[in-house]
Symmetry: C2
Subunit: 379 residues, 2 copies
């Protein structure tokens, strides 16, 4: 089978995802299928849609209307008990004592050597009770292993929560219609609770797009389809439709993806998370001394405009080369950007090639292409 | 989109698996694509083929010829250091001191409450050095968490190993041709090393089929394609072809799949692994006292013949009911068996419905169907 090079990624020519119980469906899967999902991926052992109408159409719709995203795969690892906060602080250099009660805290999670295990968002659900909204790794096992080894008083389990994101420029209008304008006015990365069908539900101003929006942390399966249908019906004239995180828009906005742009090999400093390493006030973090020594990384995340024709989504690391052909790093995410008219990409670049604006080359599936490196993303 | 009910599972009507770097390709992926893989799944963040020609054709070929399986996704977690054996024994009730140097040890891995985290095969690679061939969970994180908490002297990392399985009734003949008859005579669940392209390679008599065969633990990417091509060329007249674990044959043989038939909710006793709980001699296992209390489970794995027309692969738990409609458990794997002419399935049944041979009912995607429960699988 020839590798597909159509940047709009024609799903009909690609291998299917085989069904199994191990790859869990979500309470929203039936709606995804009714709205015509054409590609899935697997994240935290669970389905998440990747394409509905086409990469380009989904992207344009996200930037102009409002979408409902089944992000159930953002599993919530609940830490509850007298040592919940201590367990969190053992694994992150961010100072957890500074977290406000209504705050969504993005944190690097590292092992004792400062290696990135995850980059979740944490929500404080109550006294000695946290939800860790994990990227694609079984953090439950790390927390359980550590809790057992240190004999901590904390329960660690996957909570029965299925996040539904509402994303796009019309997200404010849509949630205002259903839950009132007060919810729309919540500040970025803060949350509040709303009542739906008689039950409390956490709603955060957050989400994996730069278009604005909300994440509804739906507890229990029963409320999932009613919430989807309520939002869908309320947004008919807003052109609401099913959607999913767009790799194009994500790369344009410079959001890193754990497993692609960040891996177990990295320190927080290499992946631009140095600002979250509050080394003066997080001395309980097991990696504290390792992180102190890692503050001047010899490789770092950069952004790239890659010349030439539209490239397909990256499914392996494309080598980056200096003008004289020396290996200089690799691309970890890439997409054709319809809005910018060039290929946008994220990659890891090693010293001494970390010169922004300098020309560099990428070995793409379509051949060697010139690229320009930059420190910031595009939107 | 209507759910597909064709038991032969026509891949063309199913959502594709979207490409990403996070879902890792393997050194064999290009060969899988050349041989026409039509469905993938994701296992340990890595691709594994699920269908080549069709479910039925792949199954019949596995039972009559010999297949090359890219099971790179059986990631090897290497434990190396003075406390490697201690770390293993903390997490399993199987007595690791009884493991012979050339043995493949199938072990339940449990947390301190006796909950199943994994069911890997362990190979001793040398003094204080083990490979844990994991099922689909990030066991690296559990081992690291525990090692850090207990301050063990052990390194835990994912080894650069890509298993290739050779499975089918003609596997002995194929490996004999390439590596000599001595390799074919290795006993079941034992291994030896062979030399390929000047490098040592572990080869075990093992694999996720009942048809006999081998697993080659290829170290480093470079040897992968040469090994595949060597085996393929040597087996032309044996009808060697690309293949993958067959759910049909796996269920017929009663092999459980972690994530479907075994989950974090289960104890070893519930999933038929009581024989591997050597509680007299594995007192260092953290779950020892929990397991002592769990020896009489109130639910257990059983096998089922489900009546009626061919059923599609299960992608959610199908409820099991007693004749009077009482909830009695759920199906965790199912497939139409072309050889037996009925649907074969695995499921979890609760007391007091654990009466083998008794009639029971299953709520399938095609409606309620009568089923017969049995204690053993079919082949």
């Amino acid at each position: 089978m020839k590798k597909e090079l159509n940047p709009n990624w024609d799903t009909s020519t690609h291998p299917a995802l085989f069904p199994s119980i191990r790859v869990r469906r979500t309470p929203f899967s039936s709606r995804n299928e009714e709205f015509g999902v054409t590609a899935y991926t697997v994240y935290n052992h669970m389905l998440i849609p990747r394409v509905f109408r086409s990469l380009k159409e989904d992207y344009e719709h996200l930037k102009s209307a409002v979408q409902l995203w089944d992000v159930s795969c953002e599993r919530q690892i609940e830490l509850v008990g007298p040592d919940a906060l201590r367990l969190l602080q053992l694994t992150t250099p961010r100072d957890m004592s500074r977290m406000a009660d209504d705050q969504c805290f993005y944190i690097p999670v590292v092992d004792e050597k400062g290696r990135m295990l995850n980059d979740p968002v944490v929500i404080k659900r109550g006294h000695q009770r946290y939800w860790v909204s994990i990227a694609d790794m079984d953090m439950l096992l790390y927390y359980r292993g550590l809790a057992t080894g240190f004999q901590l008083e904390v329960d660690v389990f996957e909570a029965d929560v299925y996040p539904l994101a509402v994303q796009g420029p019309r997200a404010d209008e849509l949630v205002s219609r259903v839950f009132g304008a007060e919810l729309a006015s919540v500040k970025f990365f803060r949350y509040r609770t709303v009542t739906f069908q008689g039950k409390e539900m956490v709603v955060a101003k957050s989400g994996a797009s730069h278009q604005g929006g909300f994440e509804f942390y739906v507890e229990g399966e029963d409320a999932c389809i009613p919430l989807w249908d309520t939002l869908f019906e309320a947004g008919q004239d807003l052109d609401v439709y099913a959607g999913c995180p767009s790799d194009i828009e994500r790369i344009e906005a410079g959001f890193l993806s754990y497993g692609s742009d960040i891996t177990l090999e990295n320190t927080p400093f290499e992946v631009g998370l140095g600002n979250f390493c509050e080394l003066e006030t997080s001395k309980d973090c097991l990696a504290h001394s390792a992180l102190v020594a890692q503050q001047n990384p010899t490789r770092q995340i950069r952004y790239f405009e890659i010349d030439g024709e539209p490239l397909p989504p990256a499914d392996y690391r494309w080598p980056i080369e200096s003008p004289d052909g020396t290996e200089a790093g690799f691309i970890s995410s890439a997409s054709w950007s319809p809005d910018f008219g060039f290929n946008v990409a994220i990659g890891m670049v090693t010293e001494p090639f970390l010169i922004n604006g300098g020309e560099i080359f990428v070995q793409t599936p379509l051949g060697k292409a010139a690229a320009r490196m930059r420190e910031k993303a595009w939107i």
